[in-house]
Amino acid sequence: MENKSVVVQMPSSPNNEGRSLIQNNKKWTSIFNRNSEWRGKIWIYGSAIFVILSVIAITLFLTVQGLRSFVVDHINVIDFITGTEWYPDRAENPSYGALPFIFGSLMVTILAAMLAAPFAIGSALFMTELAPKWGQKVLQPVIEILVGIPSVVYGFIGLSVIVPFMRDHVGGSGFSLLSGALVVGVMILPTITSISADAVRAVSNDLRSASYALGATKWQTIYRVVLPAAKSTLITAIVLGMARAFGEALAVQMVIGNARNLPNAISDPSATLTTIITLSMGHSTAGSVLNDVLWSLGLILLIISYGFILLIRFISRRGQVS
């Protein structure tokens, strides 16, 4: 090997100063250079670190605040999670049972997913398999509009349409778990639809051809080939929708009735972790027991949300293996 031919010399380059360009001459001062590699790195690494740090900070803060009621106020954790009586503001013998809200949150989430998932996957199939052109033109914008509607509007519509409808046709006051689930179900519809549509689009056309060539009808192809092939992403879509439903506060609060006891039926009024936090937050003072238990409810929300994310990770990892 001749050494001379390896070294690239650019004689016309002004800042060459006799040094080879392939030699590393990075200095920290190059940060002031517009095209500096360092600038980009600092920005990108900086954002990543910032995001990670804020998640850690929020988790730590919520944990510390949420544990106060157990450590400082000596509320029994088991009683807190399994108790059904919620009277934090009672002067004598206050009780802090959060079970009705945990139950309410989970029920609203599950019901909403059960109501929304079939419609969402159906419309995803419509826009990808049946009418790709029409679906793209009409259904896609409709779904984007659904995302854009503020949750207070959903709540308001729920309050003025769904609640009276429930009162007339199901009975009771109309404020109920079911009303909450309906409103939230519509809210998570676009999330599930758009992820499902991506999942269905990602299924290879080779599989569809294989299915048609075996004498399958369109529906058989969808039901037996496309949906099973997209299964793990579809489940991820539903779980993501559930995570969103779980965190929704405002719209649910407007239609669920905010009852502090365990509901006997889905047509009974109820409350969720989020609604009880937003309702009680205003009239609690920092450091009071009521404030502390609200933080504890927040901590439970966070833990269950983390559970959803772990579930999504687990599902998508299993999907990759098979």
Binding site: D206, S211, G215, A216, P228, A229
Partner: protein, 270 residues
């Protein structure tokens, strides 16, 4: 109703077939993609229980022609065909034909192995489930039979419940052939079935096809002229959408009638 229509005629055709051997008779077939005239005035018979190879350079219309036989081109937006492909006396290109039923009688294997992301067993019986067969014993028997015919049984008999994607490319392709056999088709269309495979897997597929032609009529599109020479009884050379030459393989490879055929076979273009 369509199903009845095609079935009656197919039965008739079986009686006719004993006299005349072509299973498929292509008459003045034209295929268009929008304005593009992809296949022009094709006339050729496809003989029963033999291998017919379609050769020609890329884009010459041979795959398009193949995909028209079982109406897979219906799925392509803007594709349309004129003329006739007679299958037992029925023109397959009319709207009266039940495409679903047709594809059960004329099976297809694709260029890239495309097993379903399911177990090996599920891959084999899915088409039977499409047809409404639910008897477990029957499904199992057919699955085994197809795997034996596709010379895959010994390799996979202990892992029928494993994912089909765990097989090698060559095995996957043979599984796809086995899968196509499950419906007992009369005709098997293969679109460059071994072009994505290594030489060993490829020669296994060729062996398999030679064995299968005793029972099935096989039409194979291939880029590999040696492959056509080795296995095909009849060869059709396509060029720019036209059928340039059709005849016995040995005849065509030794004494091509057309200059263009000779040039292509001897590797002067294509």
């Amino acid at each position: 109703m369509n199903q009845v229509y095609i079935k009656q005629n197919v039965e008739e055709s079986h009686q006719n077939m004993k006299k005349a051997s072509p299973v498929l008779e292509v008459k003045d077939l034209n295929i268009y993609y929008g304005d593009h005239h992809a296949v022009k005035h094709i006339n050729m018979p496809i003989e029963e229980k033999s291998i017919t190879a379609l050769i020609g350079p890329s884009g010459c219309g041979k795959s398009t022609f193949l995909r028209t036989i079982n109406r897979m081109n219906d799925l392509i937006h803007g594709a349309r065909s004129e003329g006739e492909i007679l299958y037992g006396g029925i023109n397959l290109l009319t709207s009266k034909v039940d495409v679903v039923q047709l594809r059960k009688e004329i099976g297809m294997v694709f260029q890239r192995p495309n097993p379903f992301p399911k177990s090996i067993y599920e891959n084999l019986v899915l088409s039977l489930k499409f047809s409404g067969i639910r008897d477990k014993k029957k499904l199992k028997d057919i699955a085994e039979d197809c795997l034996r015919k596709a010379a895959l049984w010994d390799e996979v008999k202990d892992r029928l419940d494993k994912s089909a994607l765990s097989l090698s490319g060559g095995q996957q392709q043979r599984l796809c052939i086995a899968r196509a056999l499950a419906l007992k088709p009369k005709v098997l269309l293969l679109d460059e079935p071994s072009s994505a495979l290594d030489p060993v897997s490829s020669s296994k597929i060729e062996e398999l096809l030679l064995k299968l032609k005793e029972e099935y009529t096989i039409v194979i599109v291939t880029h590999n002229m040696q492959q056509a020479a080795r296995i095909a009884d009849k060869t059709a050379f396509f060029y720019q959408g036209e059928l340039v030459e059709y005849g016995d393989t040995s005849q065509m490879f030794s004494h091509p009638a057309e200059k263009r055929t000779e040039d292509y076979i001897s590797g002067r273009f294509g």
